[in-house]
């Protein structure tokens, strides 16, 4: 059964946009951001190797744990914070409803 959740994205100017995302399409947050034409290069397409879909989580319920590839990639980034994630590694599930993220600089 289709279920939609809401995600919020904080833009560089501080404003927030709300996005709707279906939970039954096997999407990642990165794919939702791209589908809404936000400035997310996501060059590698979701393999956790480029970090060009880097976001900072501002508000969330419980998130899936960091995978090894994701943790390692975040470790190498100059500007990651304690709540940084690669949006390509976050699956859109009902638990993500209400997630607020901030887009981070590409490199």
């Amino acid at each position: 059964m289709e279920e939609m959740i809401n995600l919020q994205v904080e833009l560089p100017d501080g404003s927030r946009v709300t996005l709707e995302a279906p939970t039954d399409m096997g999407l990642s947050v990165m794919e939702v951001l791209k589908a809404n034409e936000l400035e997310v290069p996501a060059i590698c397409g979701g393999m956790a190797i480029c970090a060009t879909c880097h976001v900072e989580v501002l508000q969330s319920g419980e998130l899936p744990e960091l995978g090894d590839d994701e943790a390692y990639m975040l470790e190498t980034l100059p500007h990651a914070t304690a709540t940084s994630r690669l949006s390509c590694q976050l699956r859109v599930t009902p638990a993500l409803d209400g997630l607020v993220v901030r887009l981070m600089p590409e490199a």
Partner: protein
Amino acid sequence: MEKITTDICIVGAGPVGLFAVFEAGLLKMRCHVVDALPVVGGQLAEIYPKKPIYDIPGFPSILAGELVENLMKQIEPFHPSFTLGERVEKLDKQEDGSFIVHTSEGTAIACKVVVIAGGLGSFEPRKPAIASLESYEGKGVTYMVRDPEQFRSKRVVLAGGGDSALDWAIYLAGIAEELTLIHRGSTFRGAPESAEKVLSMAEEGQIKLLLKSTVTDVQGDGKLDAVTVLIDNETEYQIETDYFIPLFGLVPKLGPLEHWDLELEKGAIVVNTLDYSTNIPGVYAIGDINTYPGKLKLILCGFHESALMAQSAYNIIYPDKKFVLKYTTVNGIQELS
């Protein structure tokens, strides 16, 4: 300096670049393939050789590495030549409309057509956002350790928390007069042995280790002489140094292709879907590196693009001969001598 002459110079030895050799070969066009990586296969070989791909027509599942092997076999009759481990740097347009492509190692490839099948681009060092950092590049700031001897008896500040930062910190500590490693986190997630070694060397005073710290500024007078470090988000601290080496991994970039006067959109090359030509006549872009309305970054689409590119390139290489679509079932494969 090596000089090569061919019909088509293909930039990128990923699946799409390799299949372009096939499509060109059917039309009796010779290809030379250049790739910055030392092996063929692009991301398939470098990033996910053991991952299965499920959307190659006719293959319910095929390992990425196997697909590359099969493509190499498929193009064998056309005897492509390769320059691997060299990055393309410069495109020189000749008066007669042909090109010379120059690589990082000085190889020159003379060709009538250039096909860019560069995929993600080439992997370039990720640079931290520090104002004026770039103005010190080559003047104390470097993103790669090429010759460690350069740092002998010098003061060196390294920044980063990945494996290469750890490994170079350990190595350079034995060479440099003073080595400081600056890491944003409070722990290292990299190889545990390297991490432990760095921590023990820090205890013994061989490495100055600053955790929960970031470099926020660089200073100097023409040449770098100090970096500013922010510790724990509150204390600012200046470290005098001869070198600053940020090691934050690699990120795929267009690299030198950015300066080829190609029309770009969000880091991809804009093409005409009629034949995947770029704004420069004789230069085509196929696969993940191009963009057009409706673009899908799929190997499948790159294969299609290479077929259309080849029929258009044919008109440049054989201007006097009319293009006729040939079926391999009718004609087989005619080897190029």
